[in-house]
Amino acid sequence: MTAAAAPPPPRTFTPPPDRRAWLLVAFGLLAMFGPTFFDLFTGLWATTEQGHGPVVFVLSCWLIWRARAEVFSVEGARPRPVLGGLILLPALLLYVLGRSQDFPFFEVGALVLVLIGLLLVMRGPRQLKVVWFALFFMLFMIPLPGIVVDMLTQPMKLAVSYVAEQVLFWAGYPIARTGVILQIGSYQLLVADACAGLHTLFTLEALGLLYLNVVRHSSALRNVGLAILIVPISFTANVIRVMALTLITYYFGDEAGQGFLHGFAGIVLFLSALMLIIFADSLLRFGQRGREAQGASA
């Protein structure tokens, strides 16, 4: 396909000729997912483990809104009603099962499938491609099933406690560990679920992917490299937070560790993660430039 064959996408948003049809679709979406999001905002998303949900939700909406001119454009629309319907039907059944039997994983996951089905029915593959990243991004707001959270949280907590203990012991502090309980001096600290870093990992990974998508790096190495590096970065940041909290408790007592300094440790977490990401990104850029220079001299 040459560039001339595809008409340039419209830059400004004009209400589409079939806006009454879209109003119907919007009404259906509201009937299904209005209650879902009400429950999420008042329930799961208010917890620490799934606290990144609202951020991802708002950002996904923004990503779609940003592309609204292209999505709603009838230019080059090739509706695929049969394919769309074949995706929509199982999505609706998944929603019914998820919502009635209390499986938020299915209930929210159905939203992504419903949106794909609706876009295919109303517009076509081309408009779907415009918002693929927004839909992919939405996967991050699907609440993980309890079993997955448990399975990931436990080993992560143990690993974070283990590394924090080793580093502080090496630095000469009187520290001991049983499972996820750290003993420093006369204080005993329980490494909570929130410290496992599942929430940190998801938030950082989501925000990192968003950053990469918005700035649109052309280099695949830098994109994929950074996305993968976020996993150890998030782990390191959590170890730093646990060590910071342990030291705060050691020097200033239990009250300081549980009080306002606890929030301070959260800020330390995100600052250290941010610095590590910028550092990793610079390294990747440096490595890439080196390769390019090598290619030029050869």
Binding site: L24, G28, L29, A77, L97, S100, D102, Q154, G179
Partner: protein
Amino acid sequence: MTPHQQERRALVAAIAMCAASGAAVALRPRAVAAGPAVQLASIVPETFGKWRLDKDAVSAIISPDVQEMLTTLYADTLSRVYVDDQGTRIMLALAYGRNQNRDLQVHKLEVCYVAQGFRLVGSQKVDLETAVGAIPALRLVAEQGPRIEPITYWIRIGDRVIRGWLEQNTARVALGLRGKIPDGMLVRVSSIDRDRSEAFAQQRGFASDMLAAIAPEHLPLFVGAIHR
């Protein structure tokens, strides 16, 4: 593609979506299990078989935040130590949860023990032969330094004794689609003993004696419908 055609498709989609929304509301389970009218402490006798309550045993001191979690998760809990004439001690822990929806599901022992620094060795599925029938239970050994604690436990959800996440959730959905919110019970029997096979044999005998001594009307609370 005419606007008219689009509207027809959109209308079909919107009707299907509203139907899904309505179906989800209609299929939501509402009936919460009535639960036992009496406390677990009065359901489980203080003496049965060769076992009697060990009143001298100091039950573990529970930290306030753990106690708070227990009260939100479970409607009733019981923790006791029994002893026989030879001095064999068996620890019994029961936890009853009225509403086994997602947030309040009975917690797996495997997670709690590891968090407290125990090392779990070998989880094994067994069919526990008891006076009231075979119970699909789990056996594992928790180790912490010199302390070796073999454990036998089972979880009942609704009228089934389940093992694992998949069985737990199928039991929940099977009842849920019939409009019922299941209740649940965790039964844990353990002892501190280096001789595992001896400990497991004692625990089986203990569980069997206990179930035989429980009034028939309360038995489903412990084993669901398996004895019928």
